[in-house]
Subunit: 760 residues, 2 copies
């Protein structure tokens, strides 16, 4: 097949960068001093042995982070970031992840390297076998496995651009075989650029001590993690590959197919037999050291390079004798792996040529890649100290590799704890959704973002699928119950019919109608509001009745916001938000308007700046609290109280900057769940049930919580919200945090609690 011609085909070119990616990344848990952790895998990670994202590898302290299949590199790195956040925060504040492929100092006695405490005997036995064959020290090497699949449309287009192979599956397999053989042949270039295991720490080598620093201990056949030399498998065809593999197992050279530690593993189907039938679906590149300088062990540019490199390897002619070609690759790779990290490589000229050809290819194929990619590659080629091994070695020379790694680990650790309400990779999404995704990942639920702007998630636990929008719109609520909550008049009617106290009032469709009812309200406490409110616009409150003129103004104002308005009795008291889930109140929140507390020294402006320093405060609903503003409304409010922004309020005096208590305008959220009497919680839960709703934030006005809820007019129900914010309960300004997102997860997946009960 003439790949050079096929690749430049106009029907092929648009699809060249379409691919699917996945990363598996192992790292060791260490304590804050960089010593191997002595603890078990974190208990907060559920479904431990079947967790889709966070697993244990050989050892109990070897954490493996597994991304789902991603359609773009952006998506891949988003998941990597998110799963790292979950891993870090699940480990707790006393542990971090070791950033190197090479382990920190190992125990003197090998048996003190604890094998992963998996439930399955078979899995434990397999690790025991590995321990016997390779020793536990070598199993402590960590790395990144990069799973790569060419886009379906690309393979289809390539298939259409040739006529030699008639069978699509056969064709696909040939594509991957060519890329694999060339990858094996040329992989020394990956080792040169990205090898990052130059020296070992104490107790890694029992004997065979390596005296000189190298590019990659892990990738060298002598010191790294490889099968015995007797294990020889041909890549000339899928049949030969499979025959060789099975013969290795038969001969006892491998305990199982999965023990074949090739730098490239051919994937497709659950076992070798399936691979033959369905063809190669993707390949797993396994020769990648952890990038110490990247929080997630691999950089975006590295991934981009690998993708381009694979396209290049498809394009690039290969040697006539397949097996020779691959074997040559092993030899060359060993040479590069064992070169000193600061020395130029023996293959510098060839490397330059490859980079040149790759760049040329990018041009003729019209591919979009990062501007800096080739700049960096060339830099590394010209200056070995810019390669990963070079950088790590040079840094380590200043102190020690151990110190460098510990300090990098600490940086990563800090970053992951800095904004505990965020989920890295998804910080543009709504906070409640981020927190829910965190919890879902921790619970071992597969999370797919169906629509990012729309906060639309697919959650899956085994065969059980749930769709969730905005963190709390689920299959548990009926469509009409959400519509009931959306309509204030209907909500009120239903609550009233069920005997709950709601503000009395009427709905009006015209100004005239509303004016005619003036007598009904004139001498009462009442509220005029648009039927559908939007952040409180168009609402007028008359606590002591109103004259006709003000009444008229209020009505006109409300009609500006909606074609229907409500005039309602004003219920006096404090407003509480009850979060109800499945007939139970899980949190009660008091919201207090934006305010500062005087200290007799600072101006209001200074106090606001101080209060805004709280890392929980920020802008645009991407933090649990909003920064207090000092805009027009706040200034007006201050003026009404006889203050200006440079007034210095006396010590202890609370100054309010807003009339409304919304968190979105700088209000404080205070959890009072434990302080609210049960009878009010029952009212809230029963009212939500009366609406037929399962997940709801319901607002009660209570004049005095010490008065029994059954008393006449003890409370009034103001509103039921079908999309209640959860984050304000999870990260309140004051009071106990309530992890509502986790309750939602358990409500959607009750089997989680059952399986946890079984486990404990």
């Amino acid at each position: 097949m003439d790949f050079k011609k096929m690749l430049v085909d106009d029907q092929v070119k648009p699809y060249l960068l379409k691919a699917r990616y996945g990363v598996e990344k192992e790292s060791k848990r260490v304590d804050l001093s960089g010593n191997l952790a002595k603890t078990d895998h974190p208990k907060s990670i559920s479904q431990q042995d079947e967790h889709p994202y966070i697993q244990r590898d050989f050892s109990e302290l070897q954490m493996e982070i597994i991304t789902p299949v991603a359609e773009t590199l952006e998506e891949l790195f988003n998941y990597l970031a998110a799963i790292h956040d979950v891993a870090y925060r699940s480990m707790g504040k006393n542990e971090m992840l070791w950033p190197l492929s090479m382990p920190p100092q190992l125990p003197e006695k090998e048996e003190n390297i604890v094998i992963a405490k998996l439930k399955s005997d078979e899995n434990v036995r397999y690790r025991q076998t590995l321990s016997n064959s390779y020793g536990r020290r070598k199993q402590m090497l960590c790395g990144v496995h990069f799973n790569f699949e060419f886009g379906d449309e690309l393979i289809q287009a390539l298939f259409n651009a040739q006529s030699e192979i008639k069978d699509y599956i056969h064709f696909k397999t040939e594509i991957y075989l060519k890329a694999t053989r060339n990858y094996l042949h040329y992989r020394w270039i990956v080792t040169y650029f990205y090898g990052a295991s130059p020296i070992s720490e104490k107790n890694f080598f029992e004997k065979d001590l390596l005296n000189e620093a190298v590019r990659s201990i892990r990738s060298s056949s002598k010191y790294g993690y490889t099968n015995s030399n007797d294990v020889q498998v041909s890549y000339s065809s899928i049949q030969n590959y499979l025959t060789d593999l099975s013969s290795m197992v038969k001969k006892g050279l491998l305990s199982a197919e999965k023990e074949f530690y090739s730098p490239v593993r051919l994937r497709g189907g659950r076992n070798a037999a399936e691979l033959e039938v369905h063809g190669i679906r993707y390949i797993e590149l396994r020769n990648i050291d952890l990038n110490p300088f990247e929080t997630y062990g691999i950089s975006y540019e590295q991934a981009e390079f690998l993708h381009l490199f694979l396209i290049y390897l498809l394009w690039k002619d290969e040697g006539e004798n397949c097996d020779e070609w691959v074997k040559m690759g092993d030899v060359n790779n060993d040479i590069v792996a064992l070169e000193h990290p600061l020395e130029p490589t023996k293959f510098e000229a060839e490397a330059k040529n490859i980079i040149h050809e790759m760049e040329h290819l990018v041009e003729i194929l019209n591919l979009t890649v990062s501007d800096t990619l080739f700049v960096h590659l060339r830099e590394m080629l010209m200056n070995p100290s810019k390669t990963l091994a070079g950088r790590l070695y040079e840094e380590s020379e200043k102190s020690s590799q151990n110190e460098v790694a510990t300090s990098i680990a600490k940086e990563n650790y800090k970053k992951s704890w800095e904004k505990p309400y965020q989920l890295s990779g998804f910080i543009d999404m709504e906070l409640s959704t981020q927190i829910l995704m965190f919890d879902a990942i921790q619970q071992g639920i597969k999370v797919e973002v169906l629509d990012r702007q729309d906060q639309f998630l697919k959650l899956q636990l085994k065969d059980h699928v749930e769709y969730v929008k905005n963190g709390n719109m689920t299959s548990k609520d009926s469509y009409v119950s959400a519509l009931i909550m959306e309509n204030k008049t209907v909500t009120k009617k239903i609550l009233q019919q069920h005997g709950f106290r709601v503000p009395k009032g009427e709905e009006f469709q015209t100004i005239e109608q509303a004016l005619r009812s003036y007598d009904l309200f004139s001498s009462k406490s009442f509220v005029v509001k648009p039927k559908t409110t939007n952040y409180g616009l168009g609402i007028s409150i008359f606590k002591e009745g109103a004259n006709y003129e003000d009444y008229q103004k209020a009505i006109t104002l409300a009609f500006k916001e909606d074609s229907s308005i409500l005039i309602e009795e004003f219920i006096k008291g404090t407003e509480y938000r009850f979060f109800v889930l499945d007939e139970k109140v899980y949190a009660v929140l008091l919201r207090i308007p934006a305010n500062v507390k005087g200290d007799g020294n600072h101006t209001i402006e200074e106090l606001v700046i101080q209060k805004n320093r709280d890392p929980l405060r920020g802008r645009d609903h991407r933090t649990p609290l909003e920064s207090i503003q000092l805009g027009e409304l706040e200034n007006l409010m201050l003026k009404g109280q006889g203050y200006q922004i440079n007034s210095i309020p006396e010590n202890g005096k609370i100054i309010y900057l807003r009339e409304n208590s919304n968190i979105s305008t700088g209000g404080d959220s205070i959890d009072v769940t434990d302080q609210i009497p049960e009878d009010y919680k029952k009212i809230a839960a029963d009212a939500v049930s009366a609406l037929g709703v399962k997940i709801c934030g319901i607002d009660l006005i209570i004049e005095n919580t010490e008065v029994p809820a059954a008393n006449k007019n003890a409370y009034g129900i103001i509103e039921a919200n079908f999309n209640p914010s959860m984050y304000m309960h999870v990260f309140p300004y004051k009071g106990k945090p309530r992890r509502l997102t986790m309750h939602v997860i358990h409500y959607l997946f009750p089997e989680l609690l059952q399986s946890q009960e079984t486990t404990n």
Copy 2:
């Protein structure tokens, strides 16, 4: 108590017109010639014996229409109108309702008047007793019962405006007792204005033939439907009333309390004992003849009069001796009832004074009433031929009462069949909701409109409550499944994951992003559209690929409508709408763009006018089809085909006036349910299930329905609609009507089908 003072209290006045109303209206079913129907109560009316709105009275052919309690007169008349529509269309095209209180010619033999065939033996036995006591002929008198309750807030305000009575329930009872006694005393004025049973038809009187015409046979104690003279009940207090009533039953003068045929019945609680404990809740005015000139047996003005009259009666002093006062009313009413309909009444002067006082009251109490009310009352007073009895008598003189009544009945009949898709009283609501309400009423389900503008209904069958919005948003669908359908990208992803064919494509958030993907689409058939479409705005279709400039234009256009756009493969074929309910396809519709068919004679404009004459066509979605327009777009479309609006297309030639096939722009709806092969229906039903949806309109494009659905690319799914219009299936332009609304009712209330099965 000084009612005159209490009523003018400022706290009382705003509430004077707050009340609750209900009407029970009996009429006899007759054939189209005006002869008593020989048929049974209509089978299409479910739950016959427990139907909340349509019942049988004494006879099988006596239909009783019962409104629910209404908070306003508007609401009352809306229900009256709606229930009449259901009654008429349930009777079928061979029957109508007799508009008079007096029956048409009765059978010679009394036993040929068939007693209602009720299931309950007790109910049949009771009617047998009545038949024995009063004879069946008298039972054939029909009338209106007007139930009236003063508003709670009014009674509360009146209660607060006095200090004599401390107990609220006692106070309320006294209010109603005063109104009742005065009503009984002055009811002759109602008989004068609205009495409408001047003469009888053949076989009504066995003997005692009345030779002269009167105002109201039905209201006279001698000829009407009254208890024996021995039945005497005091209205002096609730205790005396109840003691007397129970003594009448004990003495055998009444077979049961309900046999007490007073012109006013005191109501509250299910029986007399409850009435004593809970007090009077409302009163039932029973002395109202059917108004022959009103389709619903009573006019709005009459109801307004009764309300005002009751306020007046509260205000008006009563005689000192209660029982005398009431008895005097009986005597006076008999006088007026038996006066000749064209003679002035003996009490003309007193009537004038009452009307004068009522008008004065309206003024000082600041009440809003119809402008014409007092004009009409005074007209009737000055000219007896303007009273109902007078009008009916005069009309009948020209031919016969029988002919007049038959012709009125026919008018009513015609009206009820004129627009069979409408539900009178609710014609401003969406068509699908009107049809669903019709079906619900017919099925004996209580219908409450919670929010009229929002198409929000409460449906109730015994204890089973269902809320429905827009006719098909129900508790059966989950909240998130509706949100899935609302989001095209999510819908497509889920369908694709389940193996259905959806147009391939991508979502873009920026123009730049979309432009960069030009190569992916340039040579294909594709569609550019905003993610959220709104009546097809911003959509561009490229059936043969596009040049870069057109591509750019289309993208810019789509981004004007939404912040995200989709570029999708264009799937060729015919679009069908499948209506799926609970995993079953109930209807398939083909929509054809607005068109006319040439006849070789008429211009396109004339053909459009002709086609628009179809009563199914109208404007603003309040008819099953929309009128075809001849606006800018239509002219452009014609021009493109080489026509103008005054072109005369040849015979048989179809001229399309629109590109799009929406019914809302004049398209034709064609039911093809029986023509679509099962395998496509299965695709539609399975796709809806994959989305987790129960009620859905799903659009499939099929190139050739004769090709099996399993074939590659046989179909494509375009969209799933969470609020699919139902009316277009119920009243299609061509093809078999599909009563989807009834299926929705049965889906929500499966117990209906079970009970029907039990019955049959």
